[in-house]
């Protein structure tokens, strides 16, 4: 099983960050490459820019711990998947940790890169109100 966590510090109070993260239906506003996200009961349906979709089950939204957990249920048939968004209070700012566990591991690198970009998108949305829709992920430059 592969596990990884990306993190970012956002210059906003943790409760403001958590309000966005906890609104599960808003994920497409800050996750580049997601064109839609809707929630019905505990099922979130993600439309992807590649023309596909992901089905996710929201496992928990814990307002006390500021933690959201979900699992991808289709169409990719993971033996195990757990996505975790954790917001930590740093006083005037907040740290967000975006973790994934998955088996098989084929999507590890793609999810790691996409969730890294997603945290940048979340930071932009919370700090400036800019959504990631139409956002193009920056390409790696050798000089960067």
């Amino acid at each position: 099983m592969a596990k990884f966590t990306n993190e970012i510090v956002i210059d906003s109070p943790s409760e403001e960050v958590w309000a966005v993260v906890a609104a599960a239906e808003r994920q497409a506003e800050w996750f580049p490459g997601m064109v839609s996200s809707t929630v019905e009961n505990d099922i979130r349906t993600i439309g992807t820019a590649a023309g596909g979709f992901l089905l996710e089950q929201i496992l928990s939204i814990d307002h006390d711990l500021m933690r959201l957990e979900y699992t991808i249920t289709g169409p990719i048939q993971f033996e195990h998947h757990l996505g975790t968004l954790q917001v930590e209070d740093l006083g005037c700012t907040a740290r967000v940790l975006y973790g994934q566990e998955l088996r098989p591991e084929a999507l590890t690198y793609a999810l790691r890169a996409a969730t890294r970009d997603a945290l940048v998108g979340l930071k932009a949305l919370v700090e400036t109100g800019e959504t990631s829709r139409g956002y193009t992920a920056p390409q790696t430059d050798k000089e960067a």
Partner: protein, 516 residues
């Protein structure tokens, strides 16, 4: 008006796939004819044995460590200089048709320009050349994927999409399922009509682009066939070409399991571990497939399918050459034909590819038919060359100074100046880090008819292992001489030459953004 350049690549094609290289199965008269009137290289090696690093080398003329694409899934940096860019700047019209793979394929969130172009149908990156190409139309290994061919098939012939074997399974791992007559992995009978198969589509798209050029345009056209890479599913209408029951087993396959396993045991330990199903080191072979289960008939069927795909490529190339001839460009046309890396195709009881540096994966077909107007003499070149020499060769053909950032040198045979090929040897390297934690690092040098590979410490190796083969005495690399005291001096010399040739690793290492 200068010399036009048709750069033809296949994917995962063995040296012995072609008749001109001694291949006995596929009929490849078009390429054979180019070899007869041009330069045939007997020792062309890739700098890495999987697609993305190797293709990045072809495009940049750089060693792996200098362009930074150290394994599949690492995108070539957006600001990487390319030979297509150099040619475009010099006034060449530039197009690529078929498989690019300078950026990852596995991209559900559409993070990469190539995939955005493939999904939208755009043939350039928002009006700008992409990596130096003003026109790009992509194909992959079937109907799936974020490529133009998939969209074309879906829009025009959706009934044929399911005819292809799904390269990936529902977990997005390389599909271990088998099919055909023998249950061989990644084999399928594909009912798609031949004219709709991706090989012909690639040729047709290139011809369409060439048809739109002015007669006096200089152009560089990369004709990049996705075959004979797995899946092995050529149109069923073509299966009669190579009946699998009638073909001989490849010389590199040992039918006796004991003999096969004895050879594997003489190599570095990861060979046998993979064969037995005890190691997943890389994404490029199905993780749930155990090579030890491969049967002789499956080897025959995979080979037959690959050779059918080779024949279709040859015929598609012939179609493109006829179109070029019809435009009156033939006399000023240089054609270079090669592939990105090889394929086991049954050697040692293995299929696919991975961290295994032997001729199956490293000895590549390479043919250069210089423009007839250049009046070069046909010849066979035996000294080792690398794919990193292609980009400098394109520059020389175009009459452009080879940029300093290219590591390669123009291929020998280019006429006036063959300097630069005094190099110690040609090198191939491998670095990989699988999400399961498996880590492999190895480098090889081929020089003086010897192939030497050393392993660095990783999860499979202590750092003391190596392989040394005498290619003349042992053409299938079955006798590892690494620990032979009589070859100790040779081994030392080769390792010193390797150190002299190998650039330092790039820092920081570029991030892996997808499995492939």
């Amino acid at each position: 008006m200068g010399r036009r350049i048709l750069f033809v690549t296949t994917d995962q094609q063995r040296y012995d796939a072609l008749g001109c290289n001694g291949g006995k199965v596929a009929r490849t008269p078009v390429v054979d004819s180019l070899a007869a009137s041009g330069i045939r290289y007997e020792r062309a090696h890739p700098q890495n044995v999987v697609c993305m690093p190797s293709r990045a080398t072809m495009l940049t003329g750089q060693h792996i460590r200098n362009h930074g694409v150290w394994m599949n899934g690492v995108p070539l940096p957006a600001d990487a200089p390319t030979v297509a860019g150099v040619l475009h700047e010099a006034g060449y019209r530039t197009g690529l048709f078929g498989k690019a793979h300078f950026e990852p394929f596995l991209d559900p969130f559409l993070r990469f320009p190539e995939n955005r172009m493939g999904v939208s149908g755009a043939t350039h990156d928002e009006g700008r050349p992409h990596r130096g190409f003003e026109q790009m139309e992509f194909a992959g290994h079937g109907a799936a994927g974020l490529v133009h061919y998939g969209g074309w098939l879906r829009d025009n012939h959706p009934e044929h999409m399911a005819g292809y074997f799904p390269v990936l399974d529902m977990t997005l791992e390389v599909n271990p399922e088998g099919g055909g007559d023998t249950g061989a992995p990644q084999v399928k009978h594909n009912p798609i009509p031949r004219g709709m198969y991706h090989t012909d589509w690639v040729a047709d798209r290139a011809i369409s682009w060439l048809d739109g050029l002015d007669g006096d345009d200089d152009w560089f056209c990369w004709l990049s066939f996705p075959d004979p890479h797995h899946p092995w599913n050529p149109p069923s209408s073509e299966l009669h070409r190579v009946p699998w029951r009638d073909i001989d087993l490849p010389a590199g396959y040992q039918e006796d399991p004991e003999e096969r396993e004895r050879i594997l045991d003489s190599k570095a330990p990861h060979w046998r571990r993979w064969y037995d199903g005890n190691l997943v080191s890389n994404y490029e072979a199905p993780s749930k497939w155990v090579p030890a289960t491969l049967t002789a008939d499956q080897v025959r069927e995979v080979n037959a399918m690959a050779h059918i795909q080779n024949e279709l490529i040859d015929e598609a190339l012939g179609k493109v050459l006829s179109a070029i001839d019809g435009r009156g460009w033939e006399d000023d046309l240089d054609i270079i034909y090669t592939t990105d890396h090889g394929e086991f195709q049954g050697d040692y009881g293995l299929l696919f590819k991975g961290p295994y540096h032997v001729d199956s994966l490293m000895r590549l077909p390479l043919i250069w038919r210089p423009a007839p107007s250049a009046t070069l003499i046909p010849r066979v070149v035996t000294e080792p060359v690398g794919l990193l020499d292609l980009a400098p060769t394109f520059c020389r053909i175009a009459g452009i100074e080879v940029p300093d950032w290219m590591d390669g040198v123009p291929l020998p045979g280019s006429g006036a100046d063959d300097s630069g090929h005094e190099r110690a040897g040609v090198i191939t390297e491998w670095d990989s880090l699988h999400p399961n934690g498996t880590e492999v690092h190895m480098q090889s040098i081929f020089a003086n008819q010897m192939l030497c590979t050393r392993y660095e410490a990783g999860t499979c190796h202590s750092g003391n292992e190596g392989e040394l083969y005498d290619i003349v005495e042992d053409p299938h690399q079955q006798v590892n001489l690494w620990d032979d005291p009589a070859r100790a001096a040779t081994r030392t010399d080769l390792l010193e030459a390797l150190d002299e040739t190998l650039p330092a690793r790039a820092e920081p290492q570029l991030a892996v953004e997808a499995a492939v």
